[in-house]
Every structure is written in C-alpha cells, then in structure tokens.
C-alpha cells in the first residue's frame, strides 16, 4: 500500500513511527500530560485517498462519565477558537470516556495537494491547540464545570 505521508516525511526532520497503515508522530509537550502521565502527545496520520484527504487524530484524555455532558458543551464553546479541529468523546460505558481530537487535510494522489509546509502548519496548529486547551479541558473534567476564564486562554 502506498504511504504518501511517509514519502513526504522521509528525509525531513520529523520523527515518526510506522504502524501499519498509520503513521504516528510523537511530540513532547510542556503543558499536556497524556494518559500514561507523560508529557507527550502522539498524533496518528492516516491517508484517506477515498476522501482525498489525510486524517490527523490524537487520543487526548480519559474522563469520568459524569463529565461527558459538560465536556460536550466545553467542546462547542471552544470550537470558535480551535482552527479546523474537531473533538469527539467516546463513552466506554464502564464509567470512563475517551476524548479524541481530529483534523483533516486535503490530499489528492498525483498532485501537490498536500505539501510538507501544509503538513507542518497543520501539525503545529494541532499541537498548539492541544497544549493551549489542556488546562481548560482538564479543569472541565476534574470539576465538571466550564471555567470561562480558562476558555479565554485557548
């Protein structure tokens, strides 16, 4: 199977991990702390030729189920500030839910419809959003309340 993303990354200063059809880019963080307690996020990229795009996703948080409804509101309030990124919450129905962030970049085989610069800009935006929204979302699922002051910092 062709891996246009890897073709793009080869020879560049972007470290990545091959994982089947996925390409995983691990990024150290300053604010964000992952589920394992490490200051790192992992952004998964997948070519989506059928949608002429590349999908970028990251699993961000594990949150208590009681906070799900407040988290949904928190996503919708913050969405005016999170460029081209959507959030999803997946209820595992065991008392916990997973929060994911995703973004989609245009791509079309055989054209220059995705460039290294476009990928870097979008990775950077994704990364910055995860970092800047961390305190806001952490506050929401820890307190089950939306802190509007933190919202302004995103």
């Amino acid at each position: 199977m062709a891996h246009p993303i890897r073709d793009l990354l080869d020879g560049q200063d972007i470290q990545y991990i091959e994982n089947g059809e996925y390409t995983v880019i691990p990024l150290p963080t300053k604010q964000y702390v992952n589920i394992q307690g490490a200051r790192e996020t992992r952004i998964c990229l997948q070519d989506k030729p059928e949608l002429a795009s590349v999908r970028m996703e990251a699993a961000l948080y594990e949150v208590p189920s009681e906070a799900i409804e407040t988290m949904k509101l928190a996503f919708s309030y913050a969405h005016s500030r999170t460029r081209a990124i959507t959030y999803e919450i997946y209820d595992r129905e065991n008392g916990l839910a997973d929060v994911y962030a995703g973004s989609t970049i245009p791509w079309q085989s055989g054209t220059k419809a995705i460039t290294l610069n476009a990928l870097q800009v979008n990775l950077s935006t994704f990364y910055k959003t995860i970092e800047s929204s961390h305190n806001y979302y952490r506050s929401v699922f820890n307190t089950n309340k939306i802190d509007t002051e933190l919202l302004n910092l995103i």
Binding site: L9, I25, L27, Q36, A38, A58, K72, A84, Y100
Partner: protein, 331 residues
C-alpha cells in the same frame, strides 16, 4: 493563492444540482463568499419554520482555508435546550466527523462549521467539491440526530444528497476504529522509528519521551495477570473484553481466590484491570480433570492509571501460560 472563488464555483457546480440557488458577495472581512440556498428542502427546517437551508462557502485566508458554514443551524430557546442539542450532536457515533458545532450561550445559536486547512497546497474543484459534499452529508445526519428526522433529500425531487456515496461515507464513519489500539501498538514499536532526527514542532528528544511513557507495570495488590493474546480483537466492546478475560481458566480456585485484581494484558501492555468479586467453577473441565474457573468482577476505577503500562518483563520468551499470580502466595 491556492484556490479562488472561481475554483470554488466550479466545485459547487460539479456537486450541486441546478435547483440550489447560488449568489456571491464579499463579506465584512473582505473574503469572497458563495452562498448556497436550498429552498423547499425536504430534509431541513430552520428555526423560523422555513424549509430553507443556507450554506456559506467562504474563501478564507487568501485561499489557504475553505470554510463551509451554516449560521443558526439550530437556535436554542433555553440553556437546557442548547445542552440537549449539543449532547445529541456529540453523540457516541463517529470518530471522524469533520464538521464542528459552535454553540453561543448568549443567544442560543448553534453553528455548523467545516474548515479545510489548505495552506499552500494545490487543490482543484474535485477536492473542494468532496469537502462540500461531505459537509452536507454530515449536516443532514446531524439534523436527524437532533430532530429524529430520517429524511435525507436536501432538494425536492432530487435523490438524497450524494445518494450513492452516502452509504460509503457512513460505513467509513462507523467502521470499528480504535485509536487507543493504534497508539498502544505504536508504543510497542519503538524499534521501528525510522527517522532519528528531532521532531520539528518541539526540538527536545521525542524518543526519550516514548521510553518514559513505557514504564513497567507493578501490581497494586494480590492479583492475577491474564494474557488475552489469542482472543482479544481491537475494537472489542467493554462487555466482550470482560467475557474473554474472566475465564474459563485452569486454575485452582483456592489459590485464585487470593487474588483481588485481574490485570488483562495484550501484546505486553495492560489493557484493563478488574476488581475480582469472586471466582466460580464452570462446566468446562481442565486437563487435570477439575472444573475450569472464571471470575466475576468490574473494572477497577482506582487502577485505571495502569492501563497501557508494560508487562513484558513478566513474560519470558517461550512462556505460554496465559495466567500468572502476583503478590499472592502462589507468585
């Protein structure tokens, strides 16, 4: 400039029926806008009770961003209604939704927005048309989620939007996709890191950080660790995982009863932790002629932090036993 109003109009002409009204203007920010108006829409009714859907396609950032949006996609009359709408829009259904929903608690507006970050890439009418079509598919599905409507036609007399592609889209949206598994699998593949250079966004060593995250697991108390390598499938539901984890195991029930926790491992990583309430015998007979046993329990909330940690050190090469005791007399 990566795309222009002309390209956008070509894209719209390629995917929209003629019955959809088009008009162009320049908005207050100086961006070119193509406004699509779906009149007499069977599938959508706006907050004024009119069957009219308006979709603004905006050439943002000098052609480096396409924004497709519908202001007042819903209009909530109260905070409770707003919460109800948002709750339904963010239902547990998809992991690859492209459309965002922005809620304004001041006036109850719920806006549907798709932003396509193009940057300096070359995009043609096909790519732009794909995204506009995708937006409309997601919009109608979102409308159905909130209102319960099953109608999918945006224009009267026309087939449902992207009729032949819609099922394909939805199948893809609903396919079993577990990012957790991808990330856990990636954590096991450090040796496959193919580019040793530092990450661009942050120049400290990402590789070192991976190793930090791969800390070894340590049992919190008397427990068993159970490997489900043969029966676990990525994307399993919590109840299916519980069923394959609890039994049936060829263990001595007296020894097993000393365990308070059951750690479930897959490919060397902790997948789940259960608090064991009790063990019980099953109808299945083990090779020693005694009944196989299984546990009854529930996921351990206080030990969730151990999920994802490495348990590889517990299993030596050639060790095929699926169950081990930890911190019990049988350890």
């Amino acid at each position: 400039m990566t795309f222009t109003l002309t390209t956008l109009q070509e894209a719209i002409d390629a995917v929209m029926p003629d019955s959809v009204e088009r008009s162009t203007f320049v908005n207050n920010s100086g961006n070119d806008v193509c406004l699509l108006t779906f009149n007499d829409s069977p599938a959508y009714q706006n907050s004024k009770g009119e069957n009219t859907l308006q979709v603004f396609c905006v050439v943002e950032e000098d052609g480096e961003m396409l924004q497709v949006m519908t202001p007042y996609f819903f209009h909530a009359e109260s905070a409770k209604q707003l919460q109800d709408i948002i709750s339904k829009l963010y239902s547990n259904e998809t992991l690859e939704r492209l459309t965002r929903f922005w809620a304004d608690p001041e006036d109850g507006e719920v806006r549907a927005i798709l932003e396509v970050p193009i940057e300096d890439a070359d995009v043609d009418k096909t790519i732009l048309g794909n995204f506009i079509s995708r937006y409309l598919v997601e919009l109608i599905d979102a409308y159905g989620k909130v209102t319960g409507s099953t109608e999918k036609s945006l224009t009267p007399g026309d087939p449902p939007i992207e009729g032949d592609q819609r099922e394909k889209y939805l199948q893809q949206l609903l396919q079993d996709f577990s990012l957790d598994e991808i990330i856990k699998a990636a954590l096991e593949n450090d040796s496959d890191i193919t580019n040793e250079a530092d990450a661009t966004v942050n120049t400290t060593s990402a590789k070192g950080s991976i190793r930090d995250a791969e800390s070894d697991f340590s049992a919190s108390g008397p427990s068993v660790i159970i490997r489900v390598s043969k029966s676990y499938k990525p994307g399993m539901t919590p109840s299916d995982l519980y069923e394959i984890s609890r039994g049936n195991w060829a263990l001595n029930i007296n020894n097993a009863s000393k365990a308070e926790l059951a750690y479930i491992a897959f490919k060397g990583k902790i997948l789940e932790v259960y608090e064991i309430a009790e063990w019980e015998e099953t109808d299945q007979i083990a090779g020693n002629g005694k009944p196989r046993i299984r546990f009854n329990g529930k996921p351990s909330q206080v030990n969730q932090f151990q999920i994802g940690l490495s348990a590889k050190y517990l299993f030596k090469k050639g060790d095929v036993s699926p169950v081990k005791y930890m911190k019990t007399d049988e350890s």
